[in-house]
Symmetry: C2
DNA sequence: CTGTTAGCGCGTTCAC
DNA sequence: GTGAACGCGCTAACAG
């Protein structure tokens, strides 16, 4: 039979309360007593039953998620996943609230962070914008002892305690590596559509893509990136013009959102000369385009995984427990029309 | 506050025990009483706390895993994942035992299934061989009320209640789809290495690959598959000869195991004309080959996911609870050197 | 500093 | 048929 706290207590000759204090690293135990308990734990190979602990604790973790009110499918999916996590809140002892802020709006984001801080939650998850005022707002939360994790887009050199998202530089390299293989041996140009170079994930993807193409494939030239602001309408206009004006175009890399516009532009002028297209985020739109062959490959970050990871990390940090980084790595998924989930 | 059995009891005007009987579908409750309880559950939106239930039950699930004693990295990893799940057994209330059987040995597999049956476990997971005697042994387990899930390799038209593995036909199509894009516009031959055409997953992968190449890429011809028996030595010989004798070779698809041999052959005669190589299963060997550029792409099934999924399904079936199929889908991972985990 | 005690939400004997 | 009471493994007051 699996040992319990009772076994530890009698083995160490102390009471349950003392065992509990040692287990949870709380004060009020003399060093020698603690040693005895630790020895008993070692000897009996005790592993605490987390479910029972949670049951007894009955603690709830108020968590605030701050996400942009963006009109693209990925952000909608992200908000959906957060809402879904909220529904499960009862079972996971979390109380999740969502704050939506205008996209790419630094002052609004700062206000939201300060508003979250006023509620004194157990933790905050935020889709960050890479700017100094945001860094300062995060520092204020950290100063209050409220852990912050960045979601999807990171904020390096800040007080955030974790980033729940993919390695965007690697994602860009992956896209470049694939595009290079697709176009190997050909000579021509590749168009790039970004959302905004103010957000860190887009900048990093661009860097990675460039690195993977420039050196190994000198015959492929990269056009300067078009900023679509993640807005379908704007992306549509830019891509339409690009398709019309650039006859040498061999490939297209869309590293932001708003792919609805990209797909419409491709549909409207399906060029005689086929174009290889790589985009990000598996949404109903990109999935459809994969199936019809308009898009070749979609790189994806699983919004559900990111949200659940953020919650796990926040709860762990709120309890002062360590996080196994490797276990919280978000992978870069690659989808063709053939391996769609 | 989340409703508990107490709330249900008082709402329905009955005792805790009665609520419990209704919840677990046990006899000893008159129909009208049951209705009242059900109504209360509906009204309050009660969801039972599974953790607390397990705590009270103290039930453990004895599970038997039957896997081939194969010498390749994938099977080794699979066995490792099962062992790891066994370590977590205490926390997850499972008691996992592993039975290893000689590879491709039908009578031995049947004996193992019957041995498992004698232990009366809560469930059995098995890497199946597609043969009639195996089907019969599975039927015997099912007749005893012991749920069986197939792992990695399926056994269709049998009494197995679930398959924890990837869609191998889709995996083959994915490989073909990638290979086609890599070699688009070129004219030449593609070599195929299989383990054995007697095993179901390999046959399905081959079919998928052929379907994805033949029609869309008429300029690419497929050589007849070489049977490497998943043995590195044999694969090495076959690939070496192929590389020497087939000057037109543009690509190589290795859909079985024994990739150690493939990689050695490629290393020994790195051809001036580059060859596109796609293989299955991310192992230390294929990972290394991805990093050095010897292999372009690896398709992977996550052994850890498969094992954990099998356990979840087995526990659910043992409790007579339904399984959300979509949630247990094992995805086909695609790895380039750039998105390695 | 340490021990006692009363639950957390649920399952399960036993009586009634 | 139905209900009261105890316990699963752990935490958290409250005493001492």
């Amino acid at each position: 039979m699996k040992p319990t706290v009772h076994d530890i207590a009698s083995e160490a000759g102390v009471s349950l309360a003392t065992v509990d204090r040692v287990l949870n690293g709380r004060p009020g135990v003399r060093a020698p007593t603690r040693e005895r308990v630790l020895a008993a734990i070692q000897k009996l190979g005790f592993v605490r039953d987390v479910a029972a602990a949670n049951l007894a604790k009955g603690r709830v973790y108020p968590l605030v998620f701050i996400v942009p009110a963006n009109d693209n499918s990925f952000m909608a999916a992200l908000r959906g996943e957060i809402a879904a996590a909220g529904m499960r809140g009862a079972q996971e002892r979390t109380a999740i609230s969502i704050l939506t802020v205008p996209a790419f709006d630094i002052p609004a984001l700062v206000r939201a962070l300060d508003a979250a801080r006023a509620e004194k939650p157990a933790g905050v998850a935020v889709v960050a914008i890479d700017a100094e005022p945001v860094r300062e707002a995060v520092a204020r939360l950290a100063a209050d002892g409220i852990p912050v994790v960045t979601l999807v887009s990171d904020l390096p050199d800040s007080a955030r305690s974790h980033f729940a998202g993919i390695d965007n530089e690697a994602a860009g390299r992956t896209a470049g590596s694939l595009m290079g293989r697709f176009l190997d041996g050909r000579r021509g140009a590749i168009g790039i559509i970004v959302g905004s170079l103010d957000v860190r994930d887009h900048r990093e993807r661009l860097d990675g893509f460039r690195a993977a193409i420039s050196a190994p494939y000198p015959d492929l030239s990269l056009l300067s990136p078009l900023e679509g602001r993640d807005e379908p309408e704007r992306v549509h206009q830019m891509v339409s013009r690009l398709l019309a004006e650039e006859p040498e175009l061999l490939g297209l890399y869309s590293l932001g959102a708003g792919n609805r516009g990209l797909i419409r532009a491709l549909e409207e002028r399906r060029p005689a000369r086929p174009i290889r297209v790589i985009a990000h985020e598996l949404t109903p739109h990109t999935r459809g385009a994969l199936e019809t062959g308009l898009i070749d490959t979609v790189l994806n970050q699983d919004a559900g995984h990111e949200v659940r990871s953020a919650i796990r990390v926040l709860k762990a940090r709120a309890d002062g427990q360590p996080v196994i980084a490797a276990q919280e790595r978000i992978r870069i998924d690659i989808f063709l029309k053939d391996n769609l989930p």
